[in-house]
């Protein structure tokens, strides 16, 4: 495929592309070349920088708003700098996003040609300008059909988007990009994640078809098998660096996995505690959770008393669904035994009464009262569930808030977790992400639970705060003997803190390994059942 279109000047060239978000380096010196008609597979763990790189290429607003990027991008040997996605579109770059940007009530044809419809002249337009021309329905149909043909997968152009199965929506988006005559480079961001197996195969075929027409494709996916079957080259990203750029024919799934997860960074020692195969404190049987984007299908898991169990896996595979389901925040079914007693699902109060606690991954949405003081944030659950920090009057009839006790406990945790704030009365929304996360931890610690779920405790916080949060968790586990289940997308972080790590893939537990096992083994588990 590639040799036919090989030219001296590559279609796309990136030279030393860098990007930092407020001092937090997310991309370092990316060098990449792509020829016309070439298919490049781009892989990497979540947070490796794939999406950021594509956003830079596509000229997304948020890149400019956060201070632009370093390095240069050349298109056909010419330096370009897009100030908006429209510029990128004009230069022949198309992008199909993970989230659909389609109008549900319009037909596929209308969506494909939206704002680029062929028009027929109308009299009204003489007076009011060309926006009053009539749509040429016949020509629209032809153009849309041509685009659908080019794609090689049949979809009904007359069907409204809202009636389509999710796979066809994806194809409509692709057809929209293909209908643009100037299209030279198409970026597909995890297009197969929502497709059925059959549809995915059709998509792969159509990618090959596009490539043979001279369109270059950047294909982002977690399904490594697909990469190997359709791509000419594979680029592997890790921690914001491009670690490998090889011919697809010369590599294997195992090798790619190793590149994806294997850190070369020094100083990451795994936890060396002996695994305590002691008493089972919680056993989860046949758990399903209906959490959008994180569906849990069938999870069976035993947690030992006093351990720190990690749950890892790629995004969207269901690892976040497990704590959210057990704690009753999303609809769930199955059986959860805690200390031998069954706890009811779908009832947050029951779990909290059984002295379970949960630090949610959604800090701002679930974890905090943004408009209230730190005192309220930290003391509230303990007050409501365990009647702490209350003064009783009239024989318990009036339960009065004990402001002094609340202040004391808040200041205790501000000291212990080094929360940086002006006072315990400061509103939670004024703190930085890392400090907000510490408040969330303090809230859970104040409950003095026997069992703690911590979901993505280091997401979006800086390195210093990360270490503090992880140490606080370790200390809490050692000193209070609390069993902790920590869910994280970052495998290395789990390996630093946890005794055992369970990997979730395809809504199921793919395997549980000691934290000391090699990254490669974990990587294999991560992609084992990706659907």
């Amino acid at each position: 495929m590639t040799t036919a279109n090989q030219t001296a000047v590559p279609l796309l060239e990136m030279r030393n592309v860098k990007k930092d978000f407020f001092g937090n380096q997310v991309l370092t010196d990316i060098n990449l070349k792509l020829n016309a008609g070439e298919v490049l597979g781009l892989v990497g763990e979540n947070g490796a920088g794939k999406t950021t790189l594509m956003k830079i290429l596509f000229g997304m607003d948020e890149i400019r708003e956060t201070g632009g990027y370093g390095g240069e991008i050349l298109l056909n040997g010419e330096k370009v700098s897009f100030s908006s996605p429209f510029d990128a579109l004009a230069k022949g770059i198309g992008m199909v996003h993970q989230e659909f940007s389609l109008i549900p009530g319009f037909t596929a044809t209308e969506n494909i040609l939206l704002n680029r419809e062929p028009k027929r002249h109308s009299v009204v337009a003489e007076v009011f300008g060309e926006r009053f021309n009539k749509l040429d329905r016949g020509a629209m149909k032809q153009q849309a059909e041509a685009a659908i043909d080019k794609m090689g997968v049949y979809i009904d152009g007359e069907m409204t988007i809202s009636q389509m199965p999710v796979g066809h929506k994806q194809f409509t988006e692709i057809a929209r990009e293909l209908s643009k005559d100037q299209l030279k480079l198409l970026i597909l961001d995890e297009p197969t994640a929502v497709l059925t197996e059959h549809e995915a195969i059709a998509l792969l075929d159509s990618i090959r078809g596009m490539a043979s027409r001279g369109i270059a494709v950047i294909f982002i996916t977690h399904r490594l098998q697909e990469i190997l079957s359709v791509c000419d080259r594979v680029a592997v990203m890790r921690d914001g660096c491009l670690v490998q750029d090889v011919n697809a024919k010369e590599t294997s799934v195992q090798e790619i996995t190793r590149w994806m997860v294997g850190r070369t960074v020094a100083g990451t020692e795994a936890s060396h505690r002996e695994i305590r195969e002691g008493k089972v404190i919680m056993s989860i049987r046949r758990l399903w959770v209906d959490m959008p984007g994180e569906t849990v299908r069938d999870v069976n898991l035993d947690v030992f008393e006093g351990e720190i169990l990690g749950i890892g896996g790629l995004a969207g595979q269901g690892k976040l669904g497990i704590p959210n389901g057990v704690m009753g925040l999303y609809e769930a079914g199955g059986k959860v035994l805690f200390q031998g007693k069954e706890i009811a699902l779908n009832a947050p109060r029951r779990c909290l009464d059984a002295s379970l606690a949960f630090v949610s991954e959604d800090r701002r949405g679930v974890g905090l009262l943004l408009d209230e003081s730190l005192e309220w944030n930290i003391a509230f659950p303990a007050m409501q569930i365990q009647n702490k920090f209350l003064k009783n009057y009239l024989g318990g009839l009036v339960k009065w808030r004990d402001e002094k006790a609340i202040r004391e406990v808040t200041e205790k945790y501000i000291d212990e977790l080094a929360i940086r704030c002006t006072s315990s009365r400061q509103n939670a929304k004024e703190l930085s992400g890392g400090n907000q996360q510490k408040v969330c931890l303090a809230k859970a610690f104040a409950l003095e639970p026997q069992f703690l779920f911590v979901s993505e405790p280091t997401r979006g916080i800086d390195v210093g705060a990360k270490a503090l949060v992880l140490n606080a968790l370790k200390k809490f586990n050692q000193e209070s003997g609390v069993t902790i289940v920590m869910i994280s997308s970052e495998l290395e972080e789990l390996r630093q803190v946890c005794d055992r790590i369970a990997i979730v893939s395809g809504g199921k537990i793919a395997g549980i390994l000691p934290a000391t096992d090699s990254s490669e083994d974990f990587g294999m588990l991560m992609v084992s059942q990706v659907k």
Binding site: L329, L369, D371, W376, Q384, L390
Partner: protein, 358 residues
């Protein structure tokens, strides 16, 4: 992490700016306008002591209705545009106590007693409805308020009232639009401990009654359940994750608000001296909503201080503008200004709603 938090010395200008910010620019403008009216009053030959008496009186009539906004704002149900529902419960209590023949100041408390079960019932149904349409509370509340008033317009005619003080003279059935409270609970609270200094008179009883209810509300917000209510309003998902039954707390807040609406209208009537039926409750929700907003409350935050300041400013403007303006330009501008102030405040507050960020 060990560094001390630097306390910067704010300059004088910054202090003022901060004070203005915390007090709120719209409130400052309205307070300034009211002050201007008080200063102007003697120059345009308006009777100042009389005007102050009026302002205090109107404050005492309306304060409880404004207080009724607080629980629903705290639980995140927004401003209670459905206040007429509570008012209807109060009107039922008032008219039934007259029908049953209670007289004198005691009939005021009997009215509250009779209104209470209605308020609980109406509030319960209203709260159940609001729990079903989370996110659109204020719009639905408006409809609930309006439709309850319209429904009662029919009921006032059909219900078998017989008291000659209340029914139409000729047909002998159906309630009149305006019913005098003389001999019933007219000035039941106002006359209690009333202070008269020259032309100035202060209805201490009514103010005390409001103070008791306001203290009760303040105290409630400091209890465990009250804290939960504030948290539900601040972030319902957080509250749910902390094991709170969000729907039950919201229901409680709606019932409280409806009951306070019922008591509020009875307080209003005892000061005003008349029961107003039929379409009158239509016009009660908007002034109460704008009063609490002028007081500095937002769609999901309100304090007792907001109630007091807001009621005073709003009623002050409503009382002062007609007299001062009329004496000055010999033209009735009062209604126009009242409309601009009340509707403007509501619009302003609704645009502030975006402060709830995720």
């Amino acid at each position: 992490m060990s560094e001390t938090v630097n306390q910067t010395n704010p300059s004088f200008g910054k202090l003022i700016r901060k004070a203005v910010q915390s007090f709120g620019l719209p409130r400052l403008i309205i307070a300034g306008f009211l002050l201007l009216l008080f200063i102007l009053a003697p120059f345009v030959n308006a009777d100042l002591p009389m005007q102050i008496t009026n302002t205090i009186n109107r404050f005492s009539w309306n304060a409880v209705l404004v207080l009724a906004m607080v629980p629903m704002v705290h639980s995140g149900c927004g401003l209670n545009f459905g206040l007429p529902l509570g008012i209807v419960a109060g009107l039922l209590g008032g008219t039934l106590s007259i029908e049953l023949g209670f007289r004198g100041p005691a009939s005021f408390f009997i009215s509250i007693l009779i209104a209470t079960p209605f308020a609980l019932l109406f509030g319960g149904g209203y709260g159940w409805l609001l729990n079903r349409i989370k996110g659109g509370e204020m719009m639905i509340a408006t409809y609930v308020g309006f439709s309850s008033v319209s429904f009662m317009c029919m009921m006032w005619l059909l219900l078998p009232y017989h008291s000659p003080n209340m029914v139409w003279g000729l047909s002998g059935k159906g309630l009149r639009t305006t019913i005098s409270l003389e001999g019933y609970y007219d000035k039941a609270l106002a006359n209690f401990l009333q202070i008269n200094i020259g032309k100035l008179s202060i209805p201490v009883g009514t103010l005390l009654f409001f103070a008791v209810l306001a203290f009760g509300m303040w105290a409630f917000l400091h209890t465990k359940t009250g804290t939960a209510m504030t948290a539900v309003g601040s972030n319902p998902t957080f509250a749910r994750a902390a094991g709170i039954n969000v729907d039950r707390i919201r229901l409680l807040s709606v019932i409280m608000s409806t009951w306070l609406g019922a008591v509020g209208i009875l307080v209003y009537e005892q000061g005003f001296g008349f029961i107003q039926l039929y379409n009158a409750p239509f016009y009660m929700a908007l002034p109460a909503v704008s009063a609490i907003l002028i007081g500095g409350a937002s769609v999901n935050k309100a304090s007792i201080m907001n109630v007091i300041i807001g009621t005073f400013l709003f009623q002050g403007i409503v009382t002062m503008t007609p007299t001062v303006m009329n004496n000055m330009i010999h033209m009735d501008m009062s209604e126009v200004i009242r409309m601009i102030a009340s509707n403007g405040m509501i619009l302003y507050a609704l645009t502030r709603k975006t402060e709830v960020r995720r």
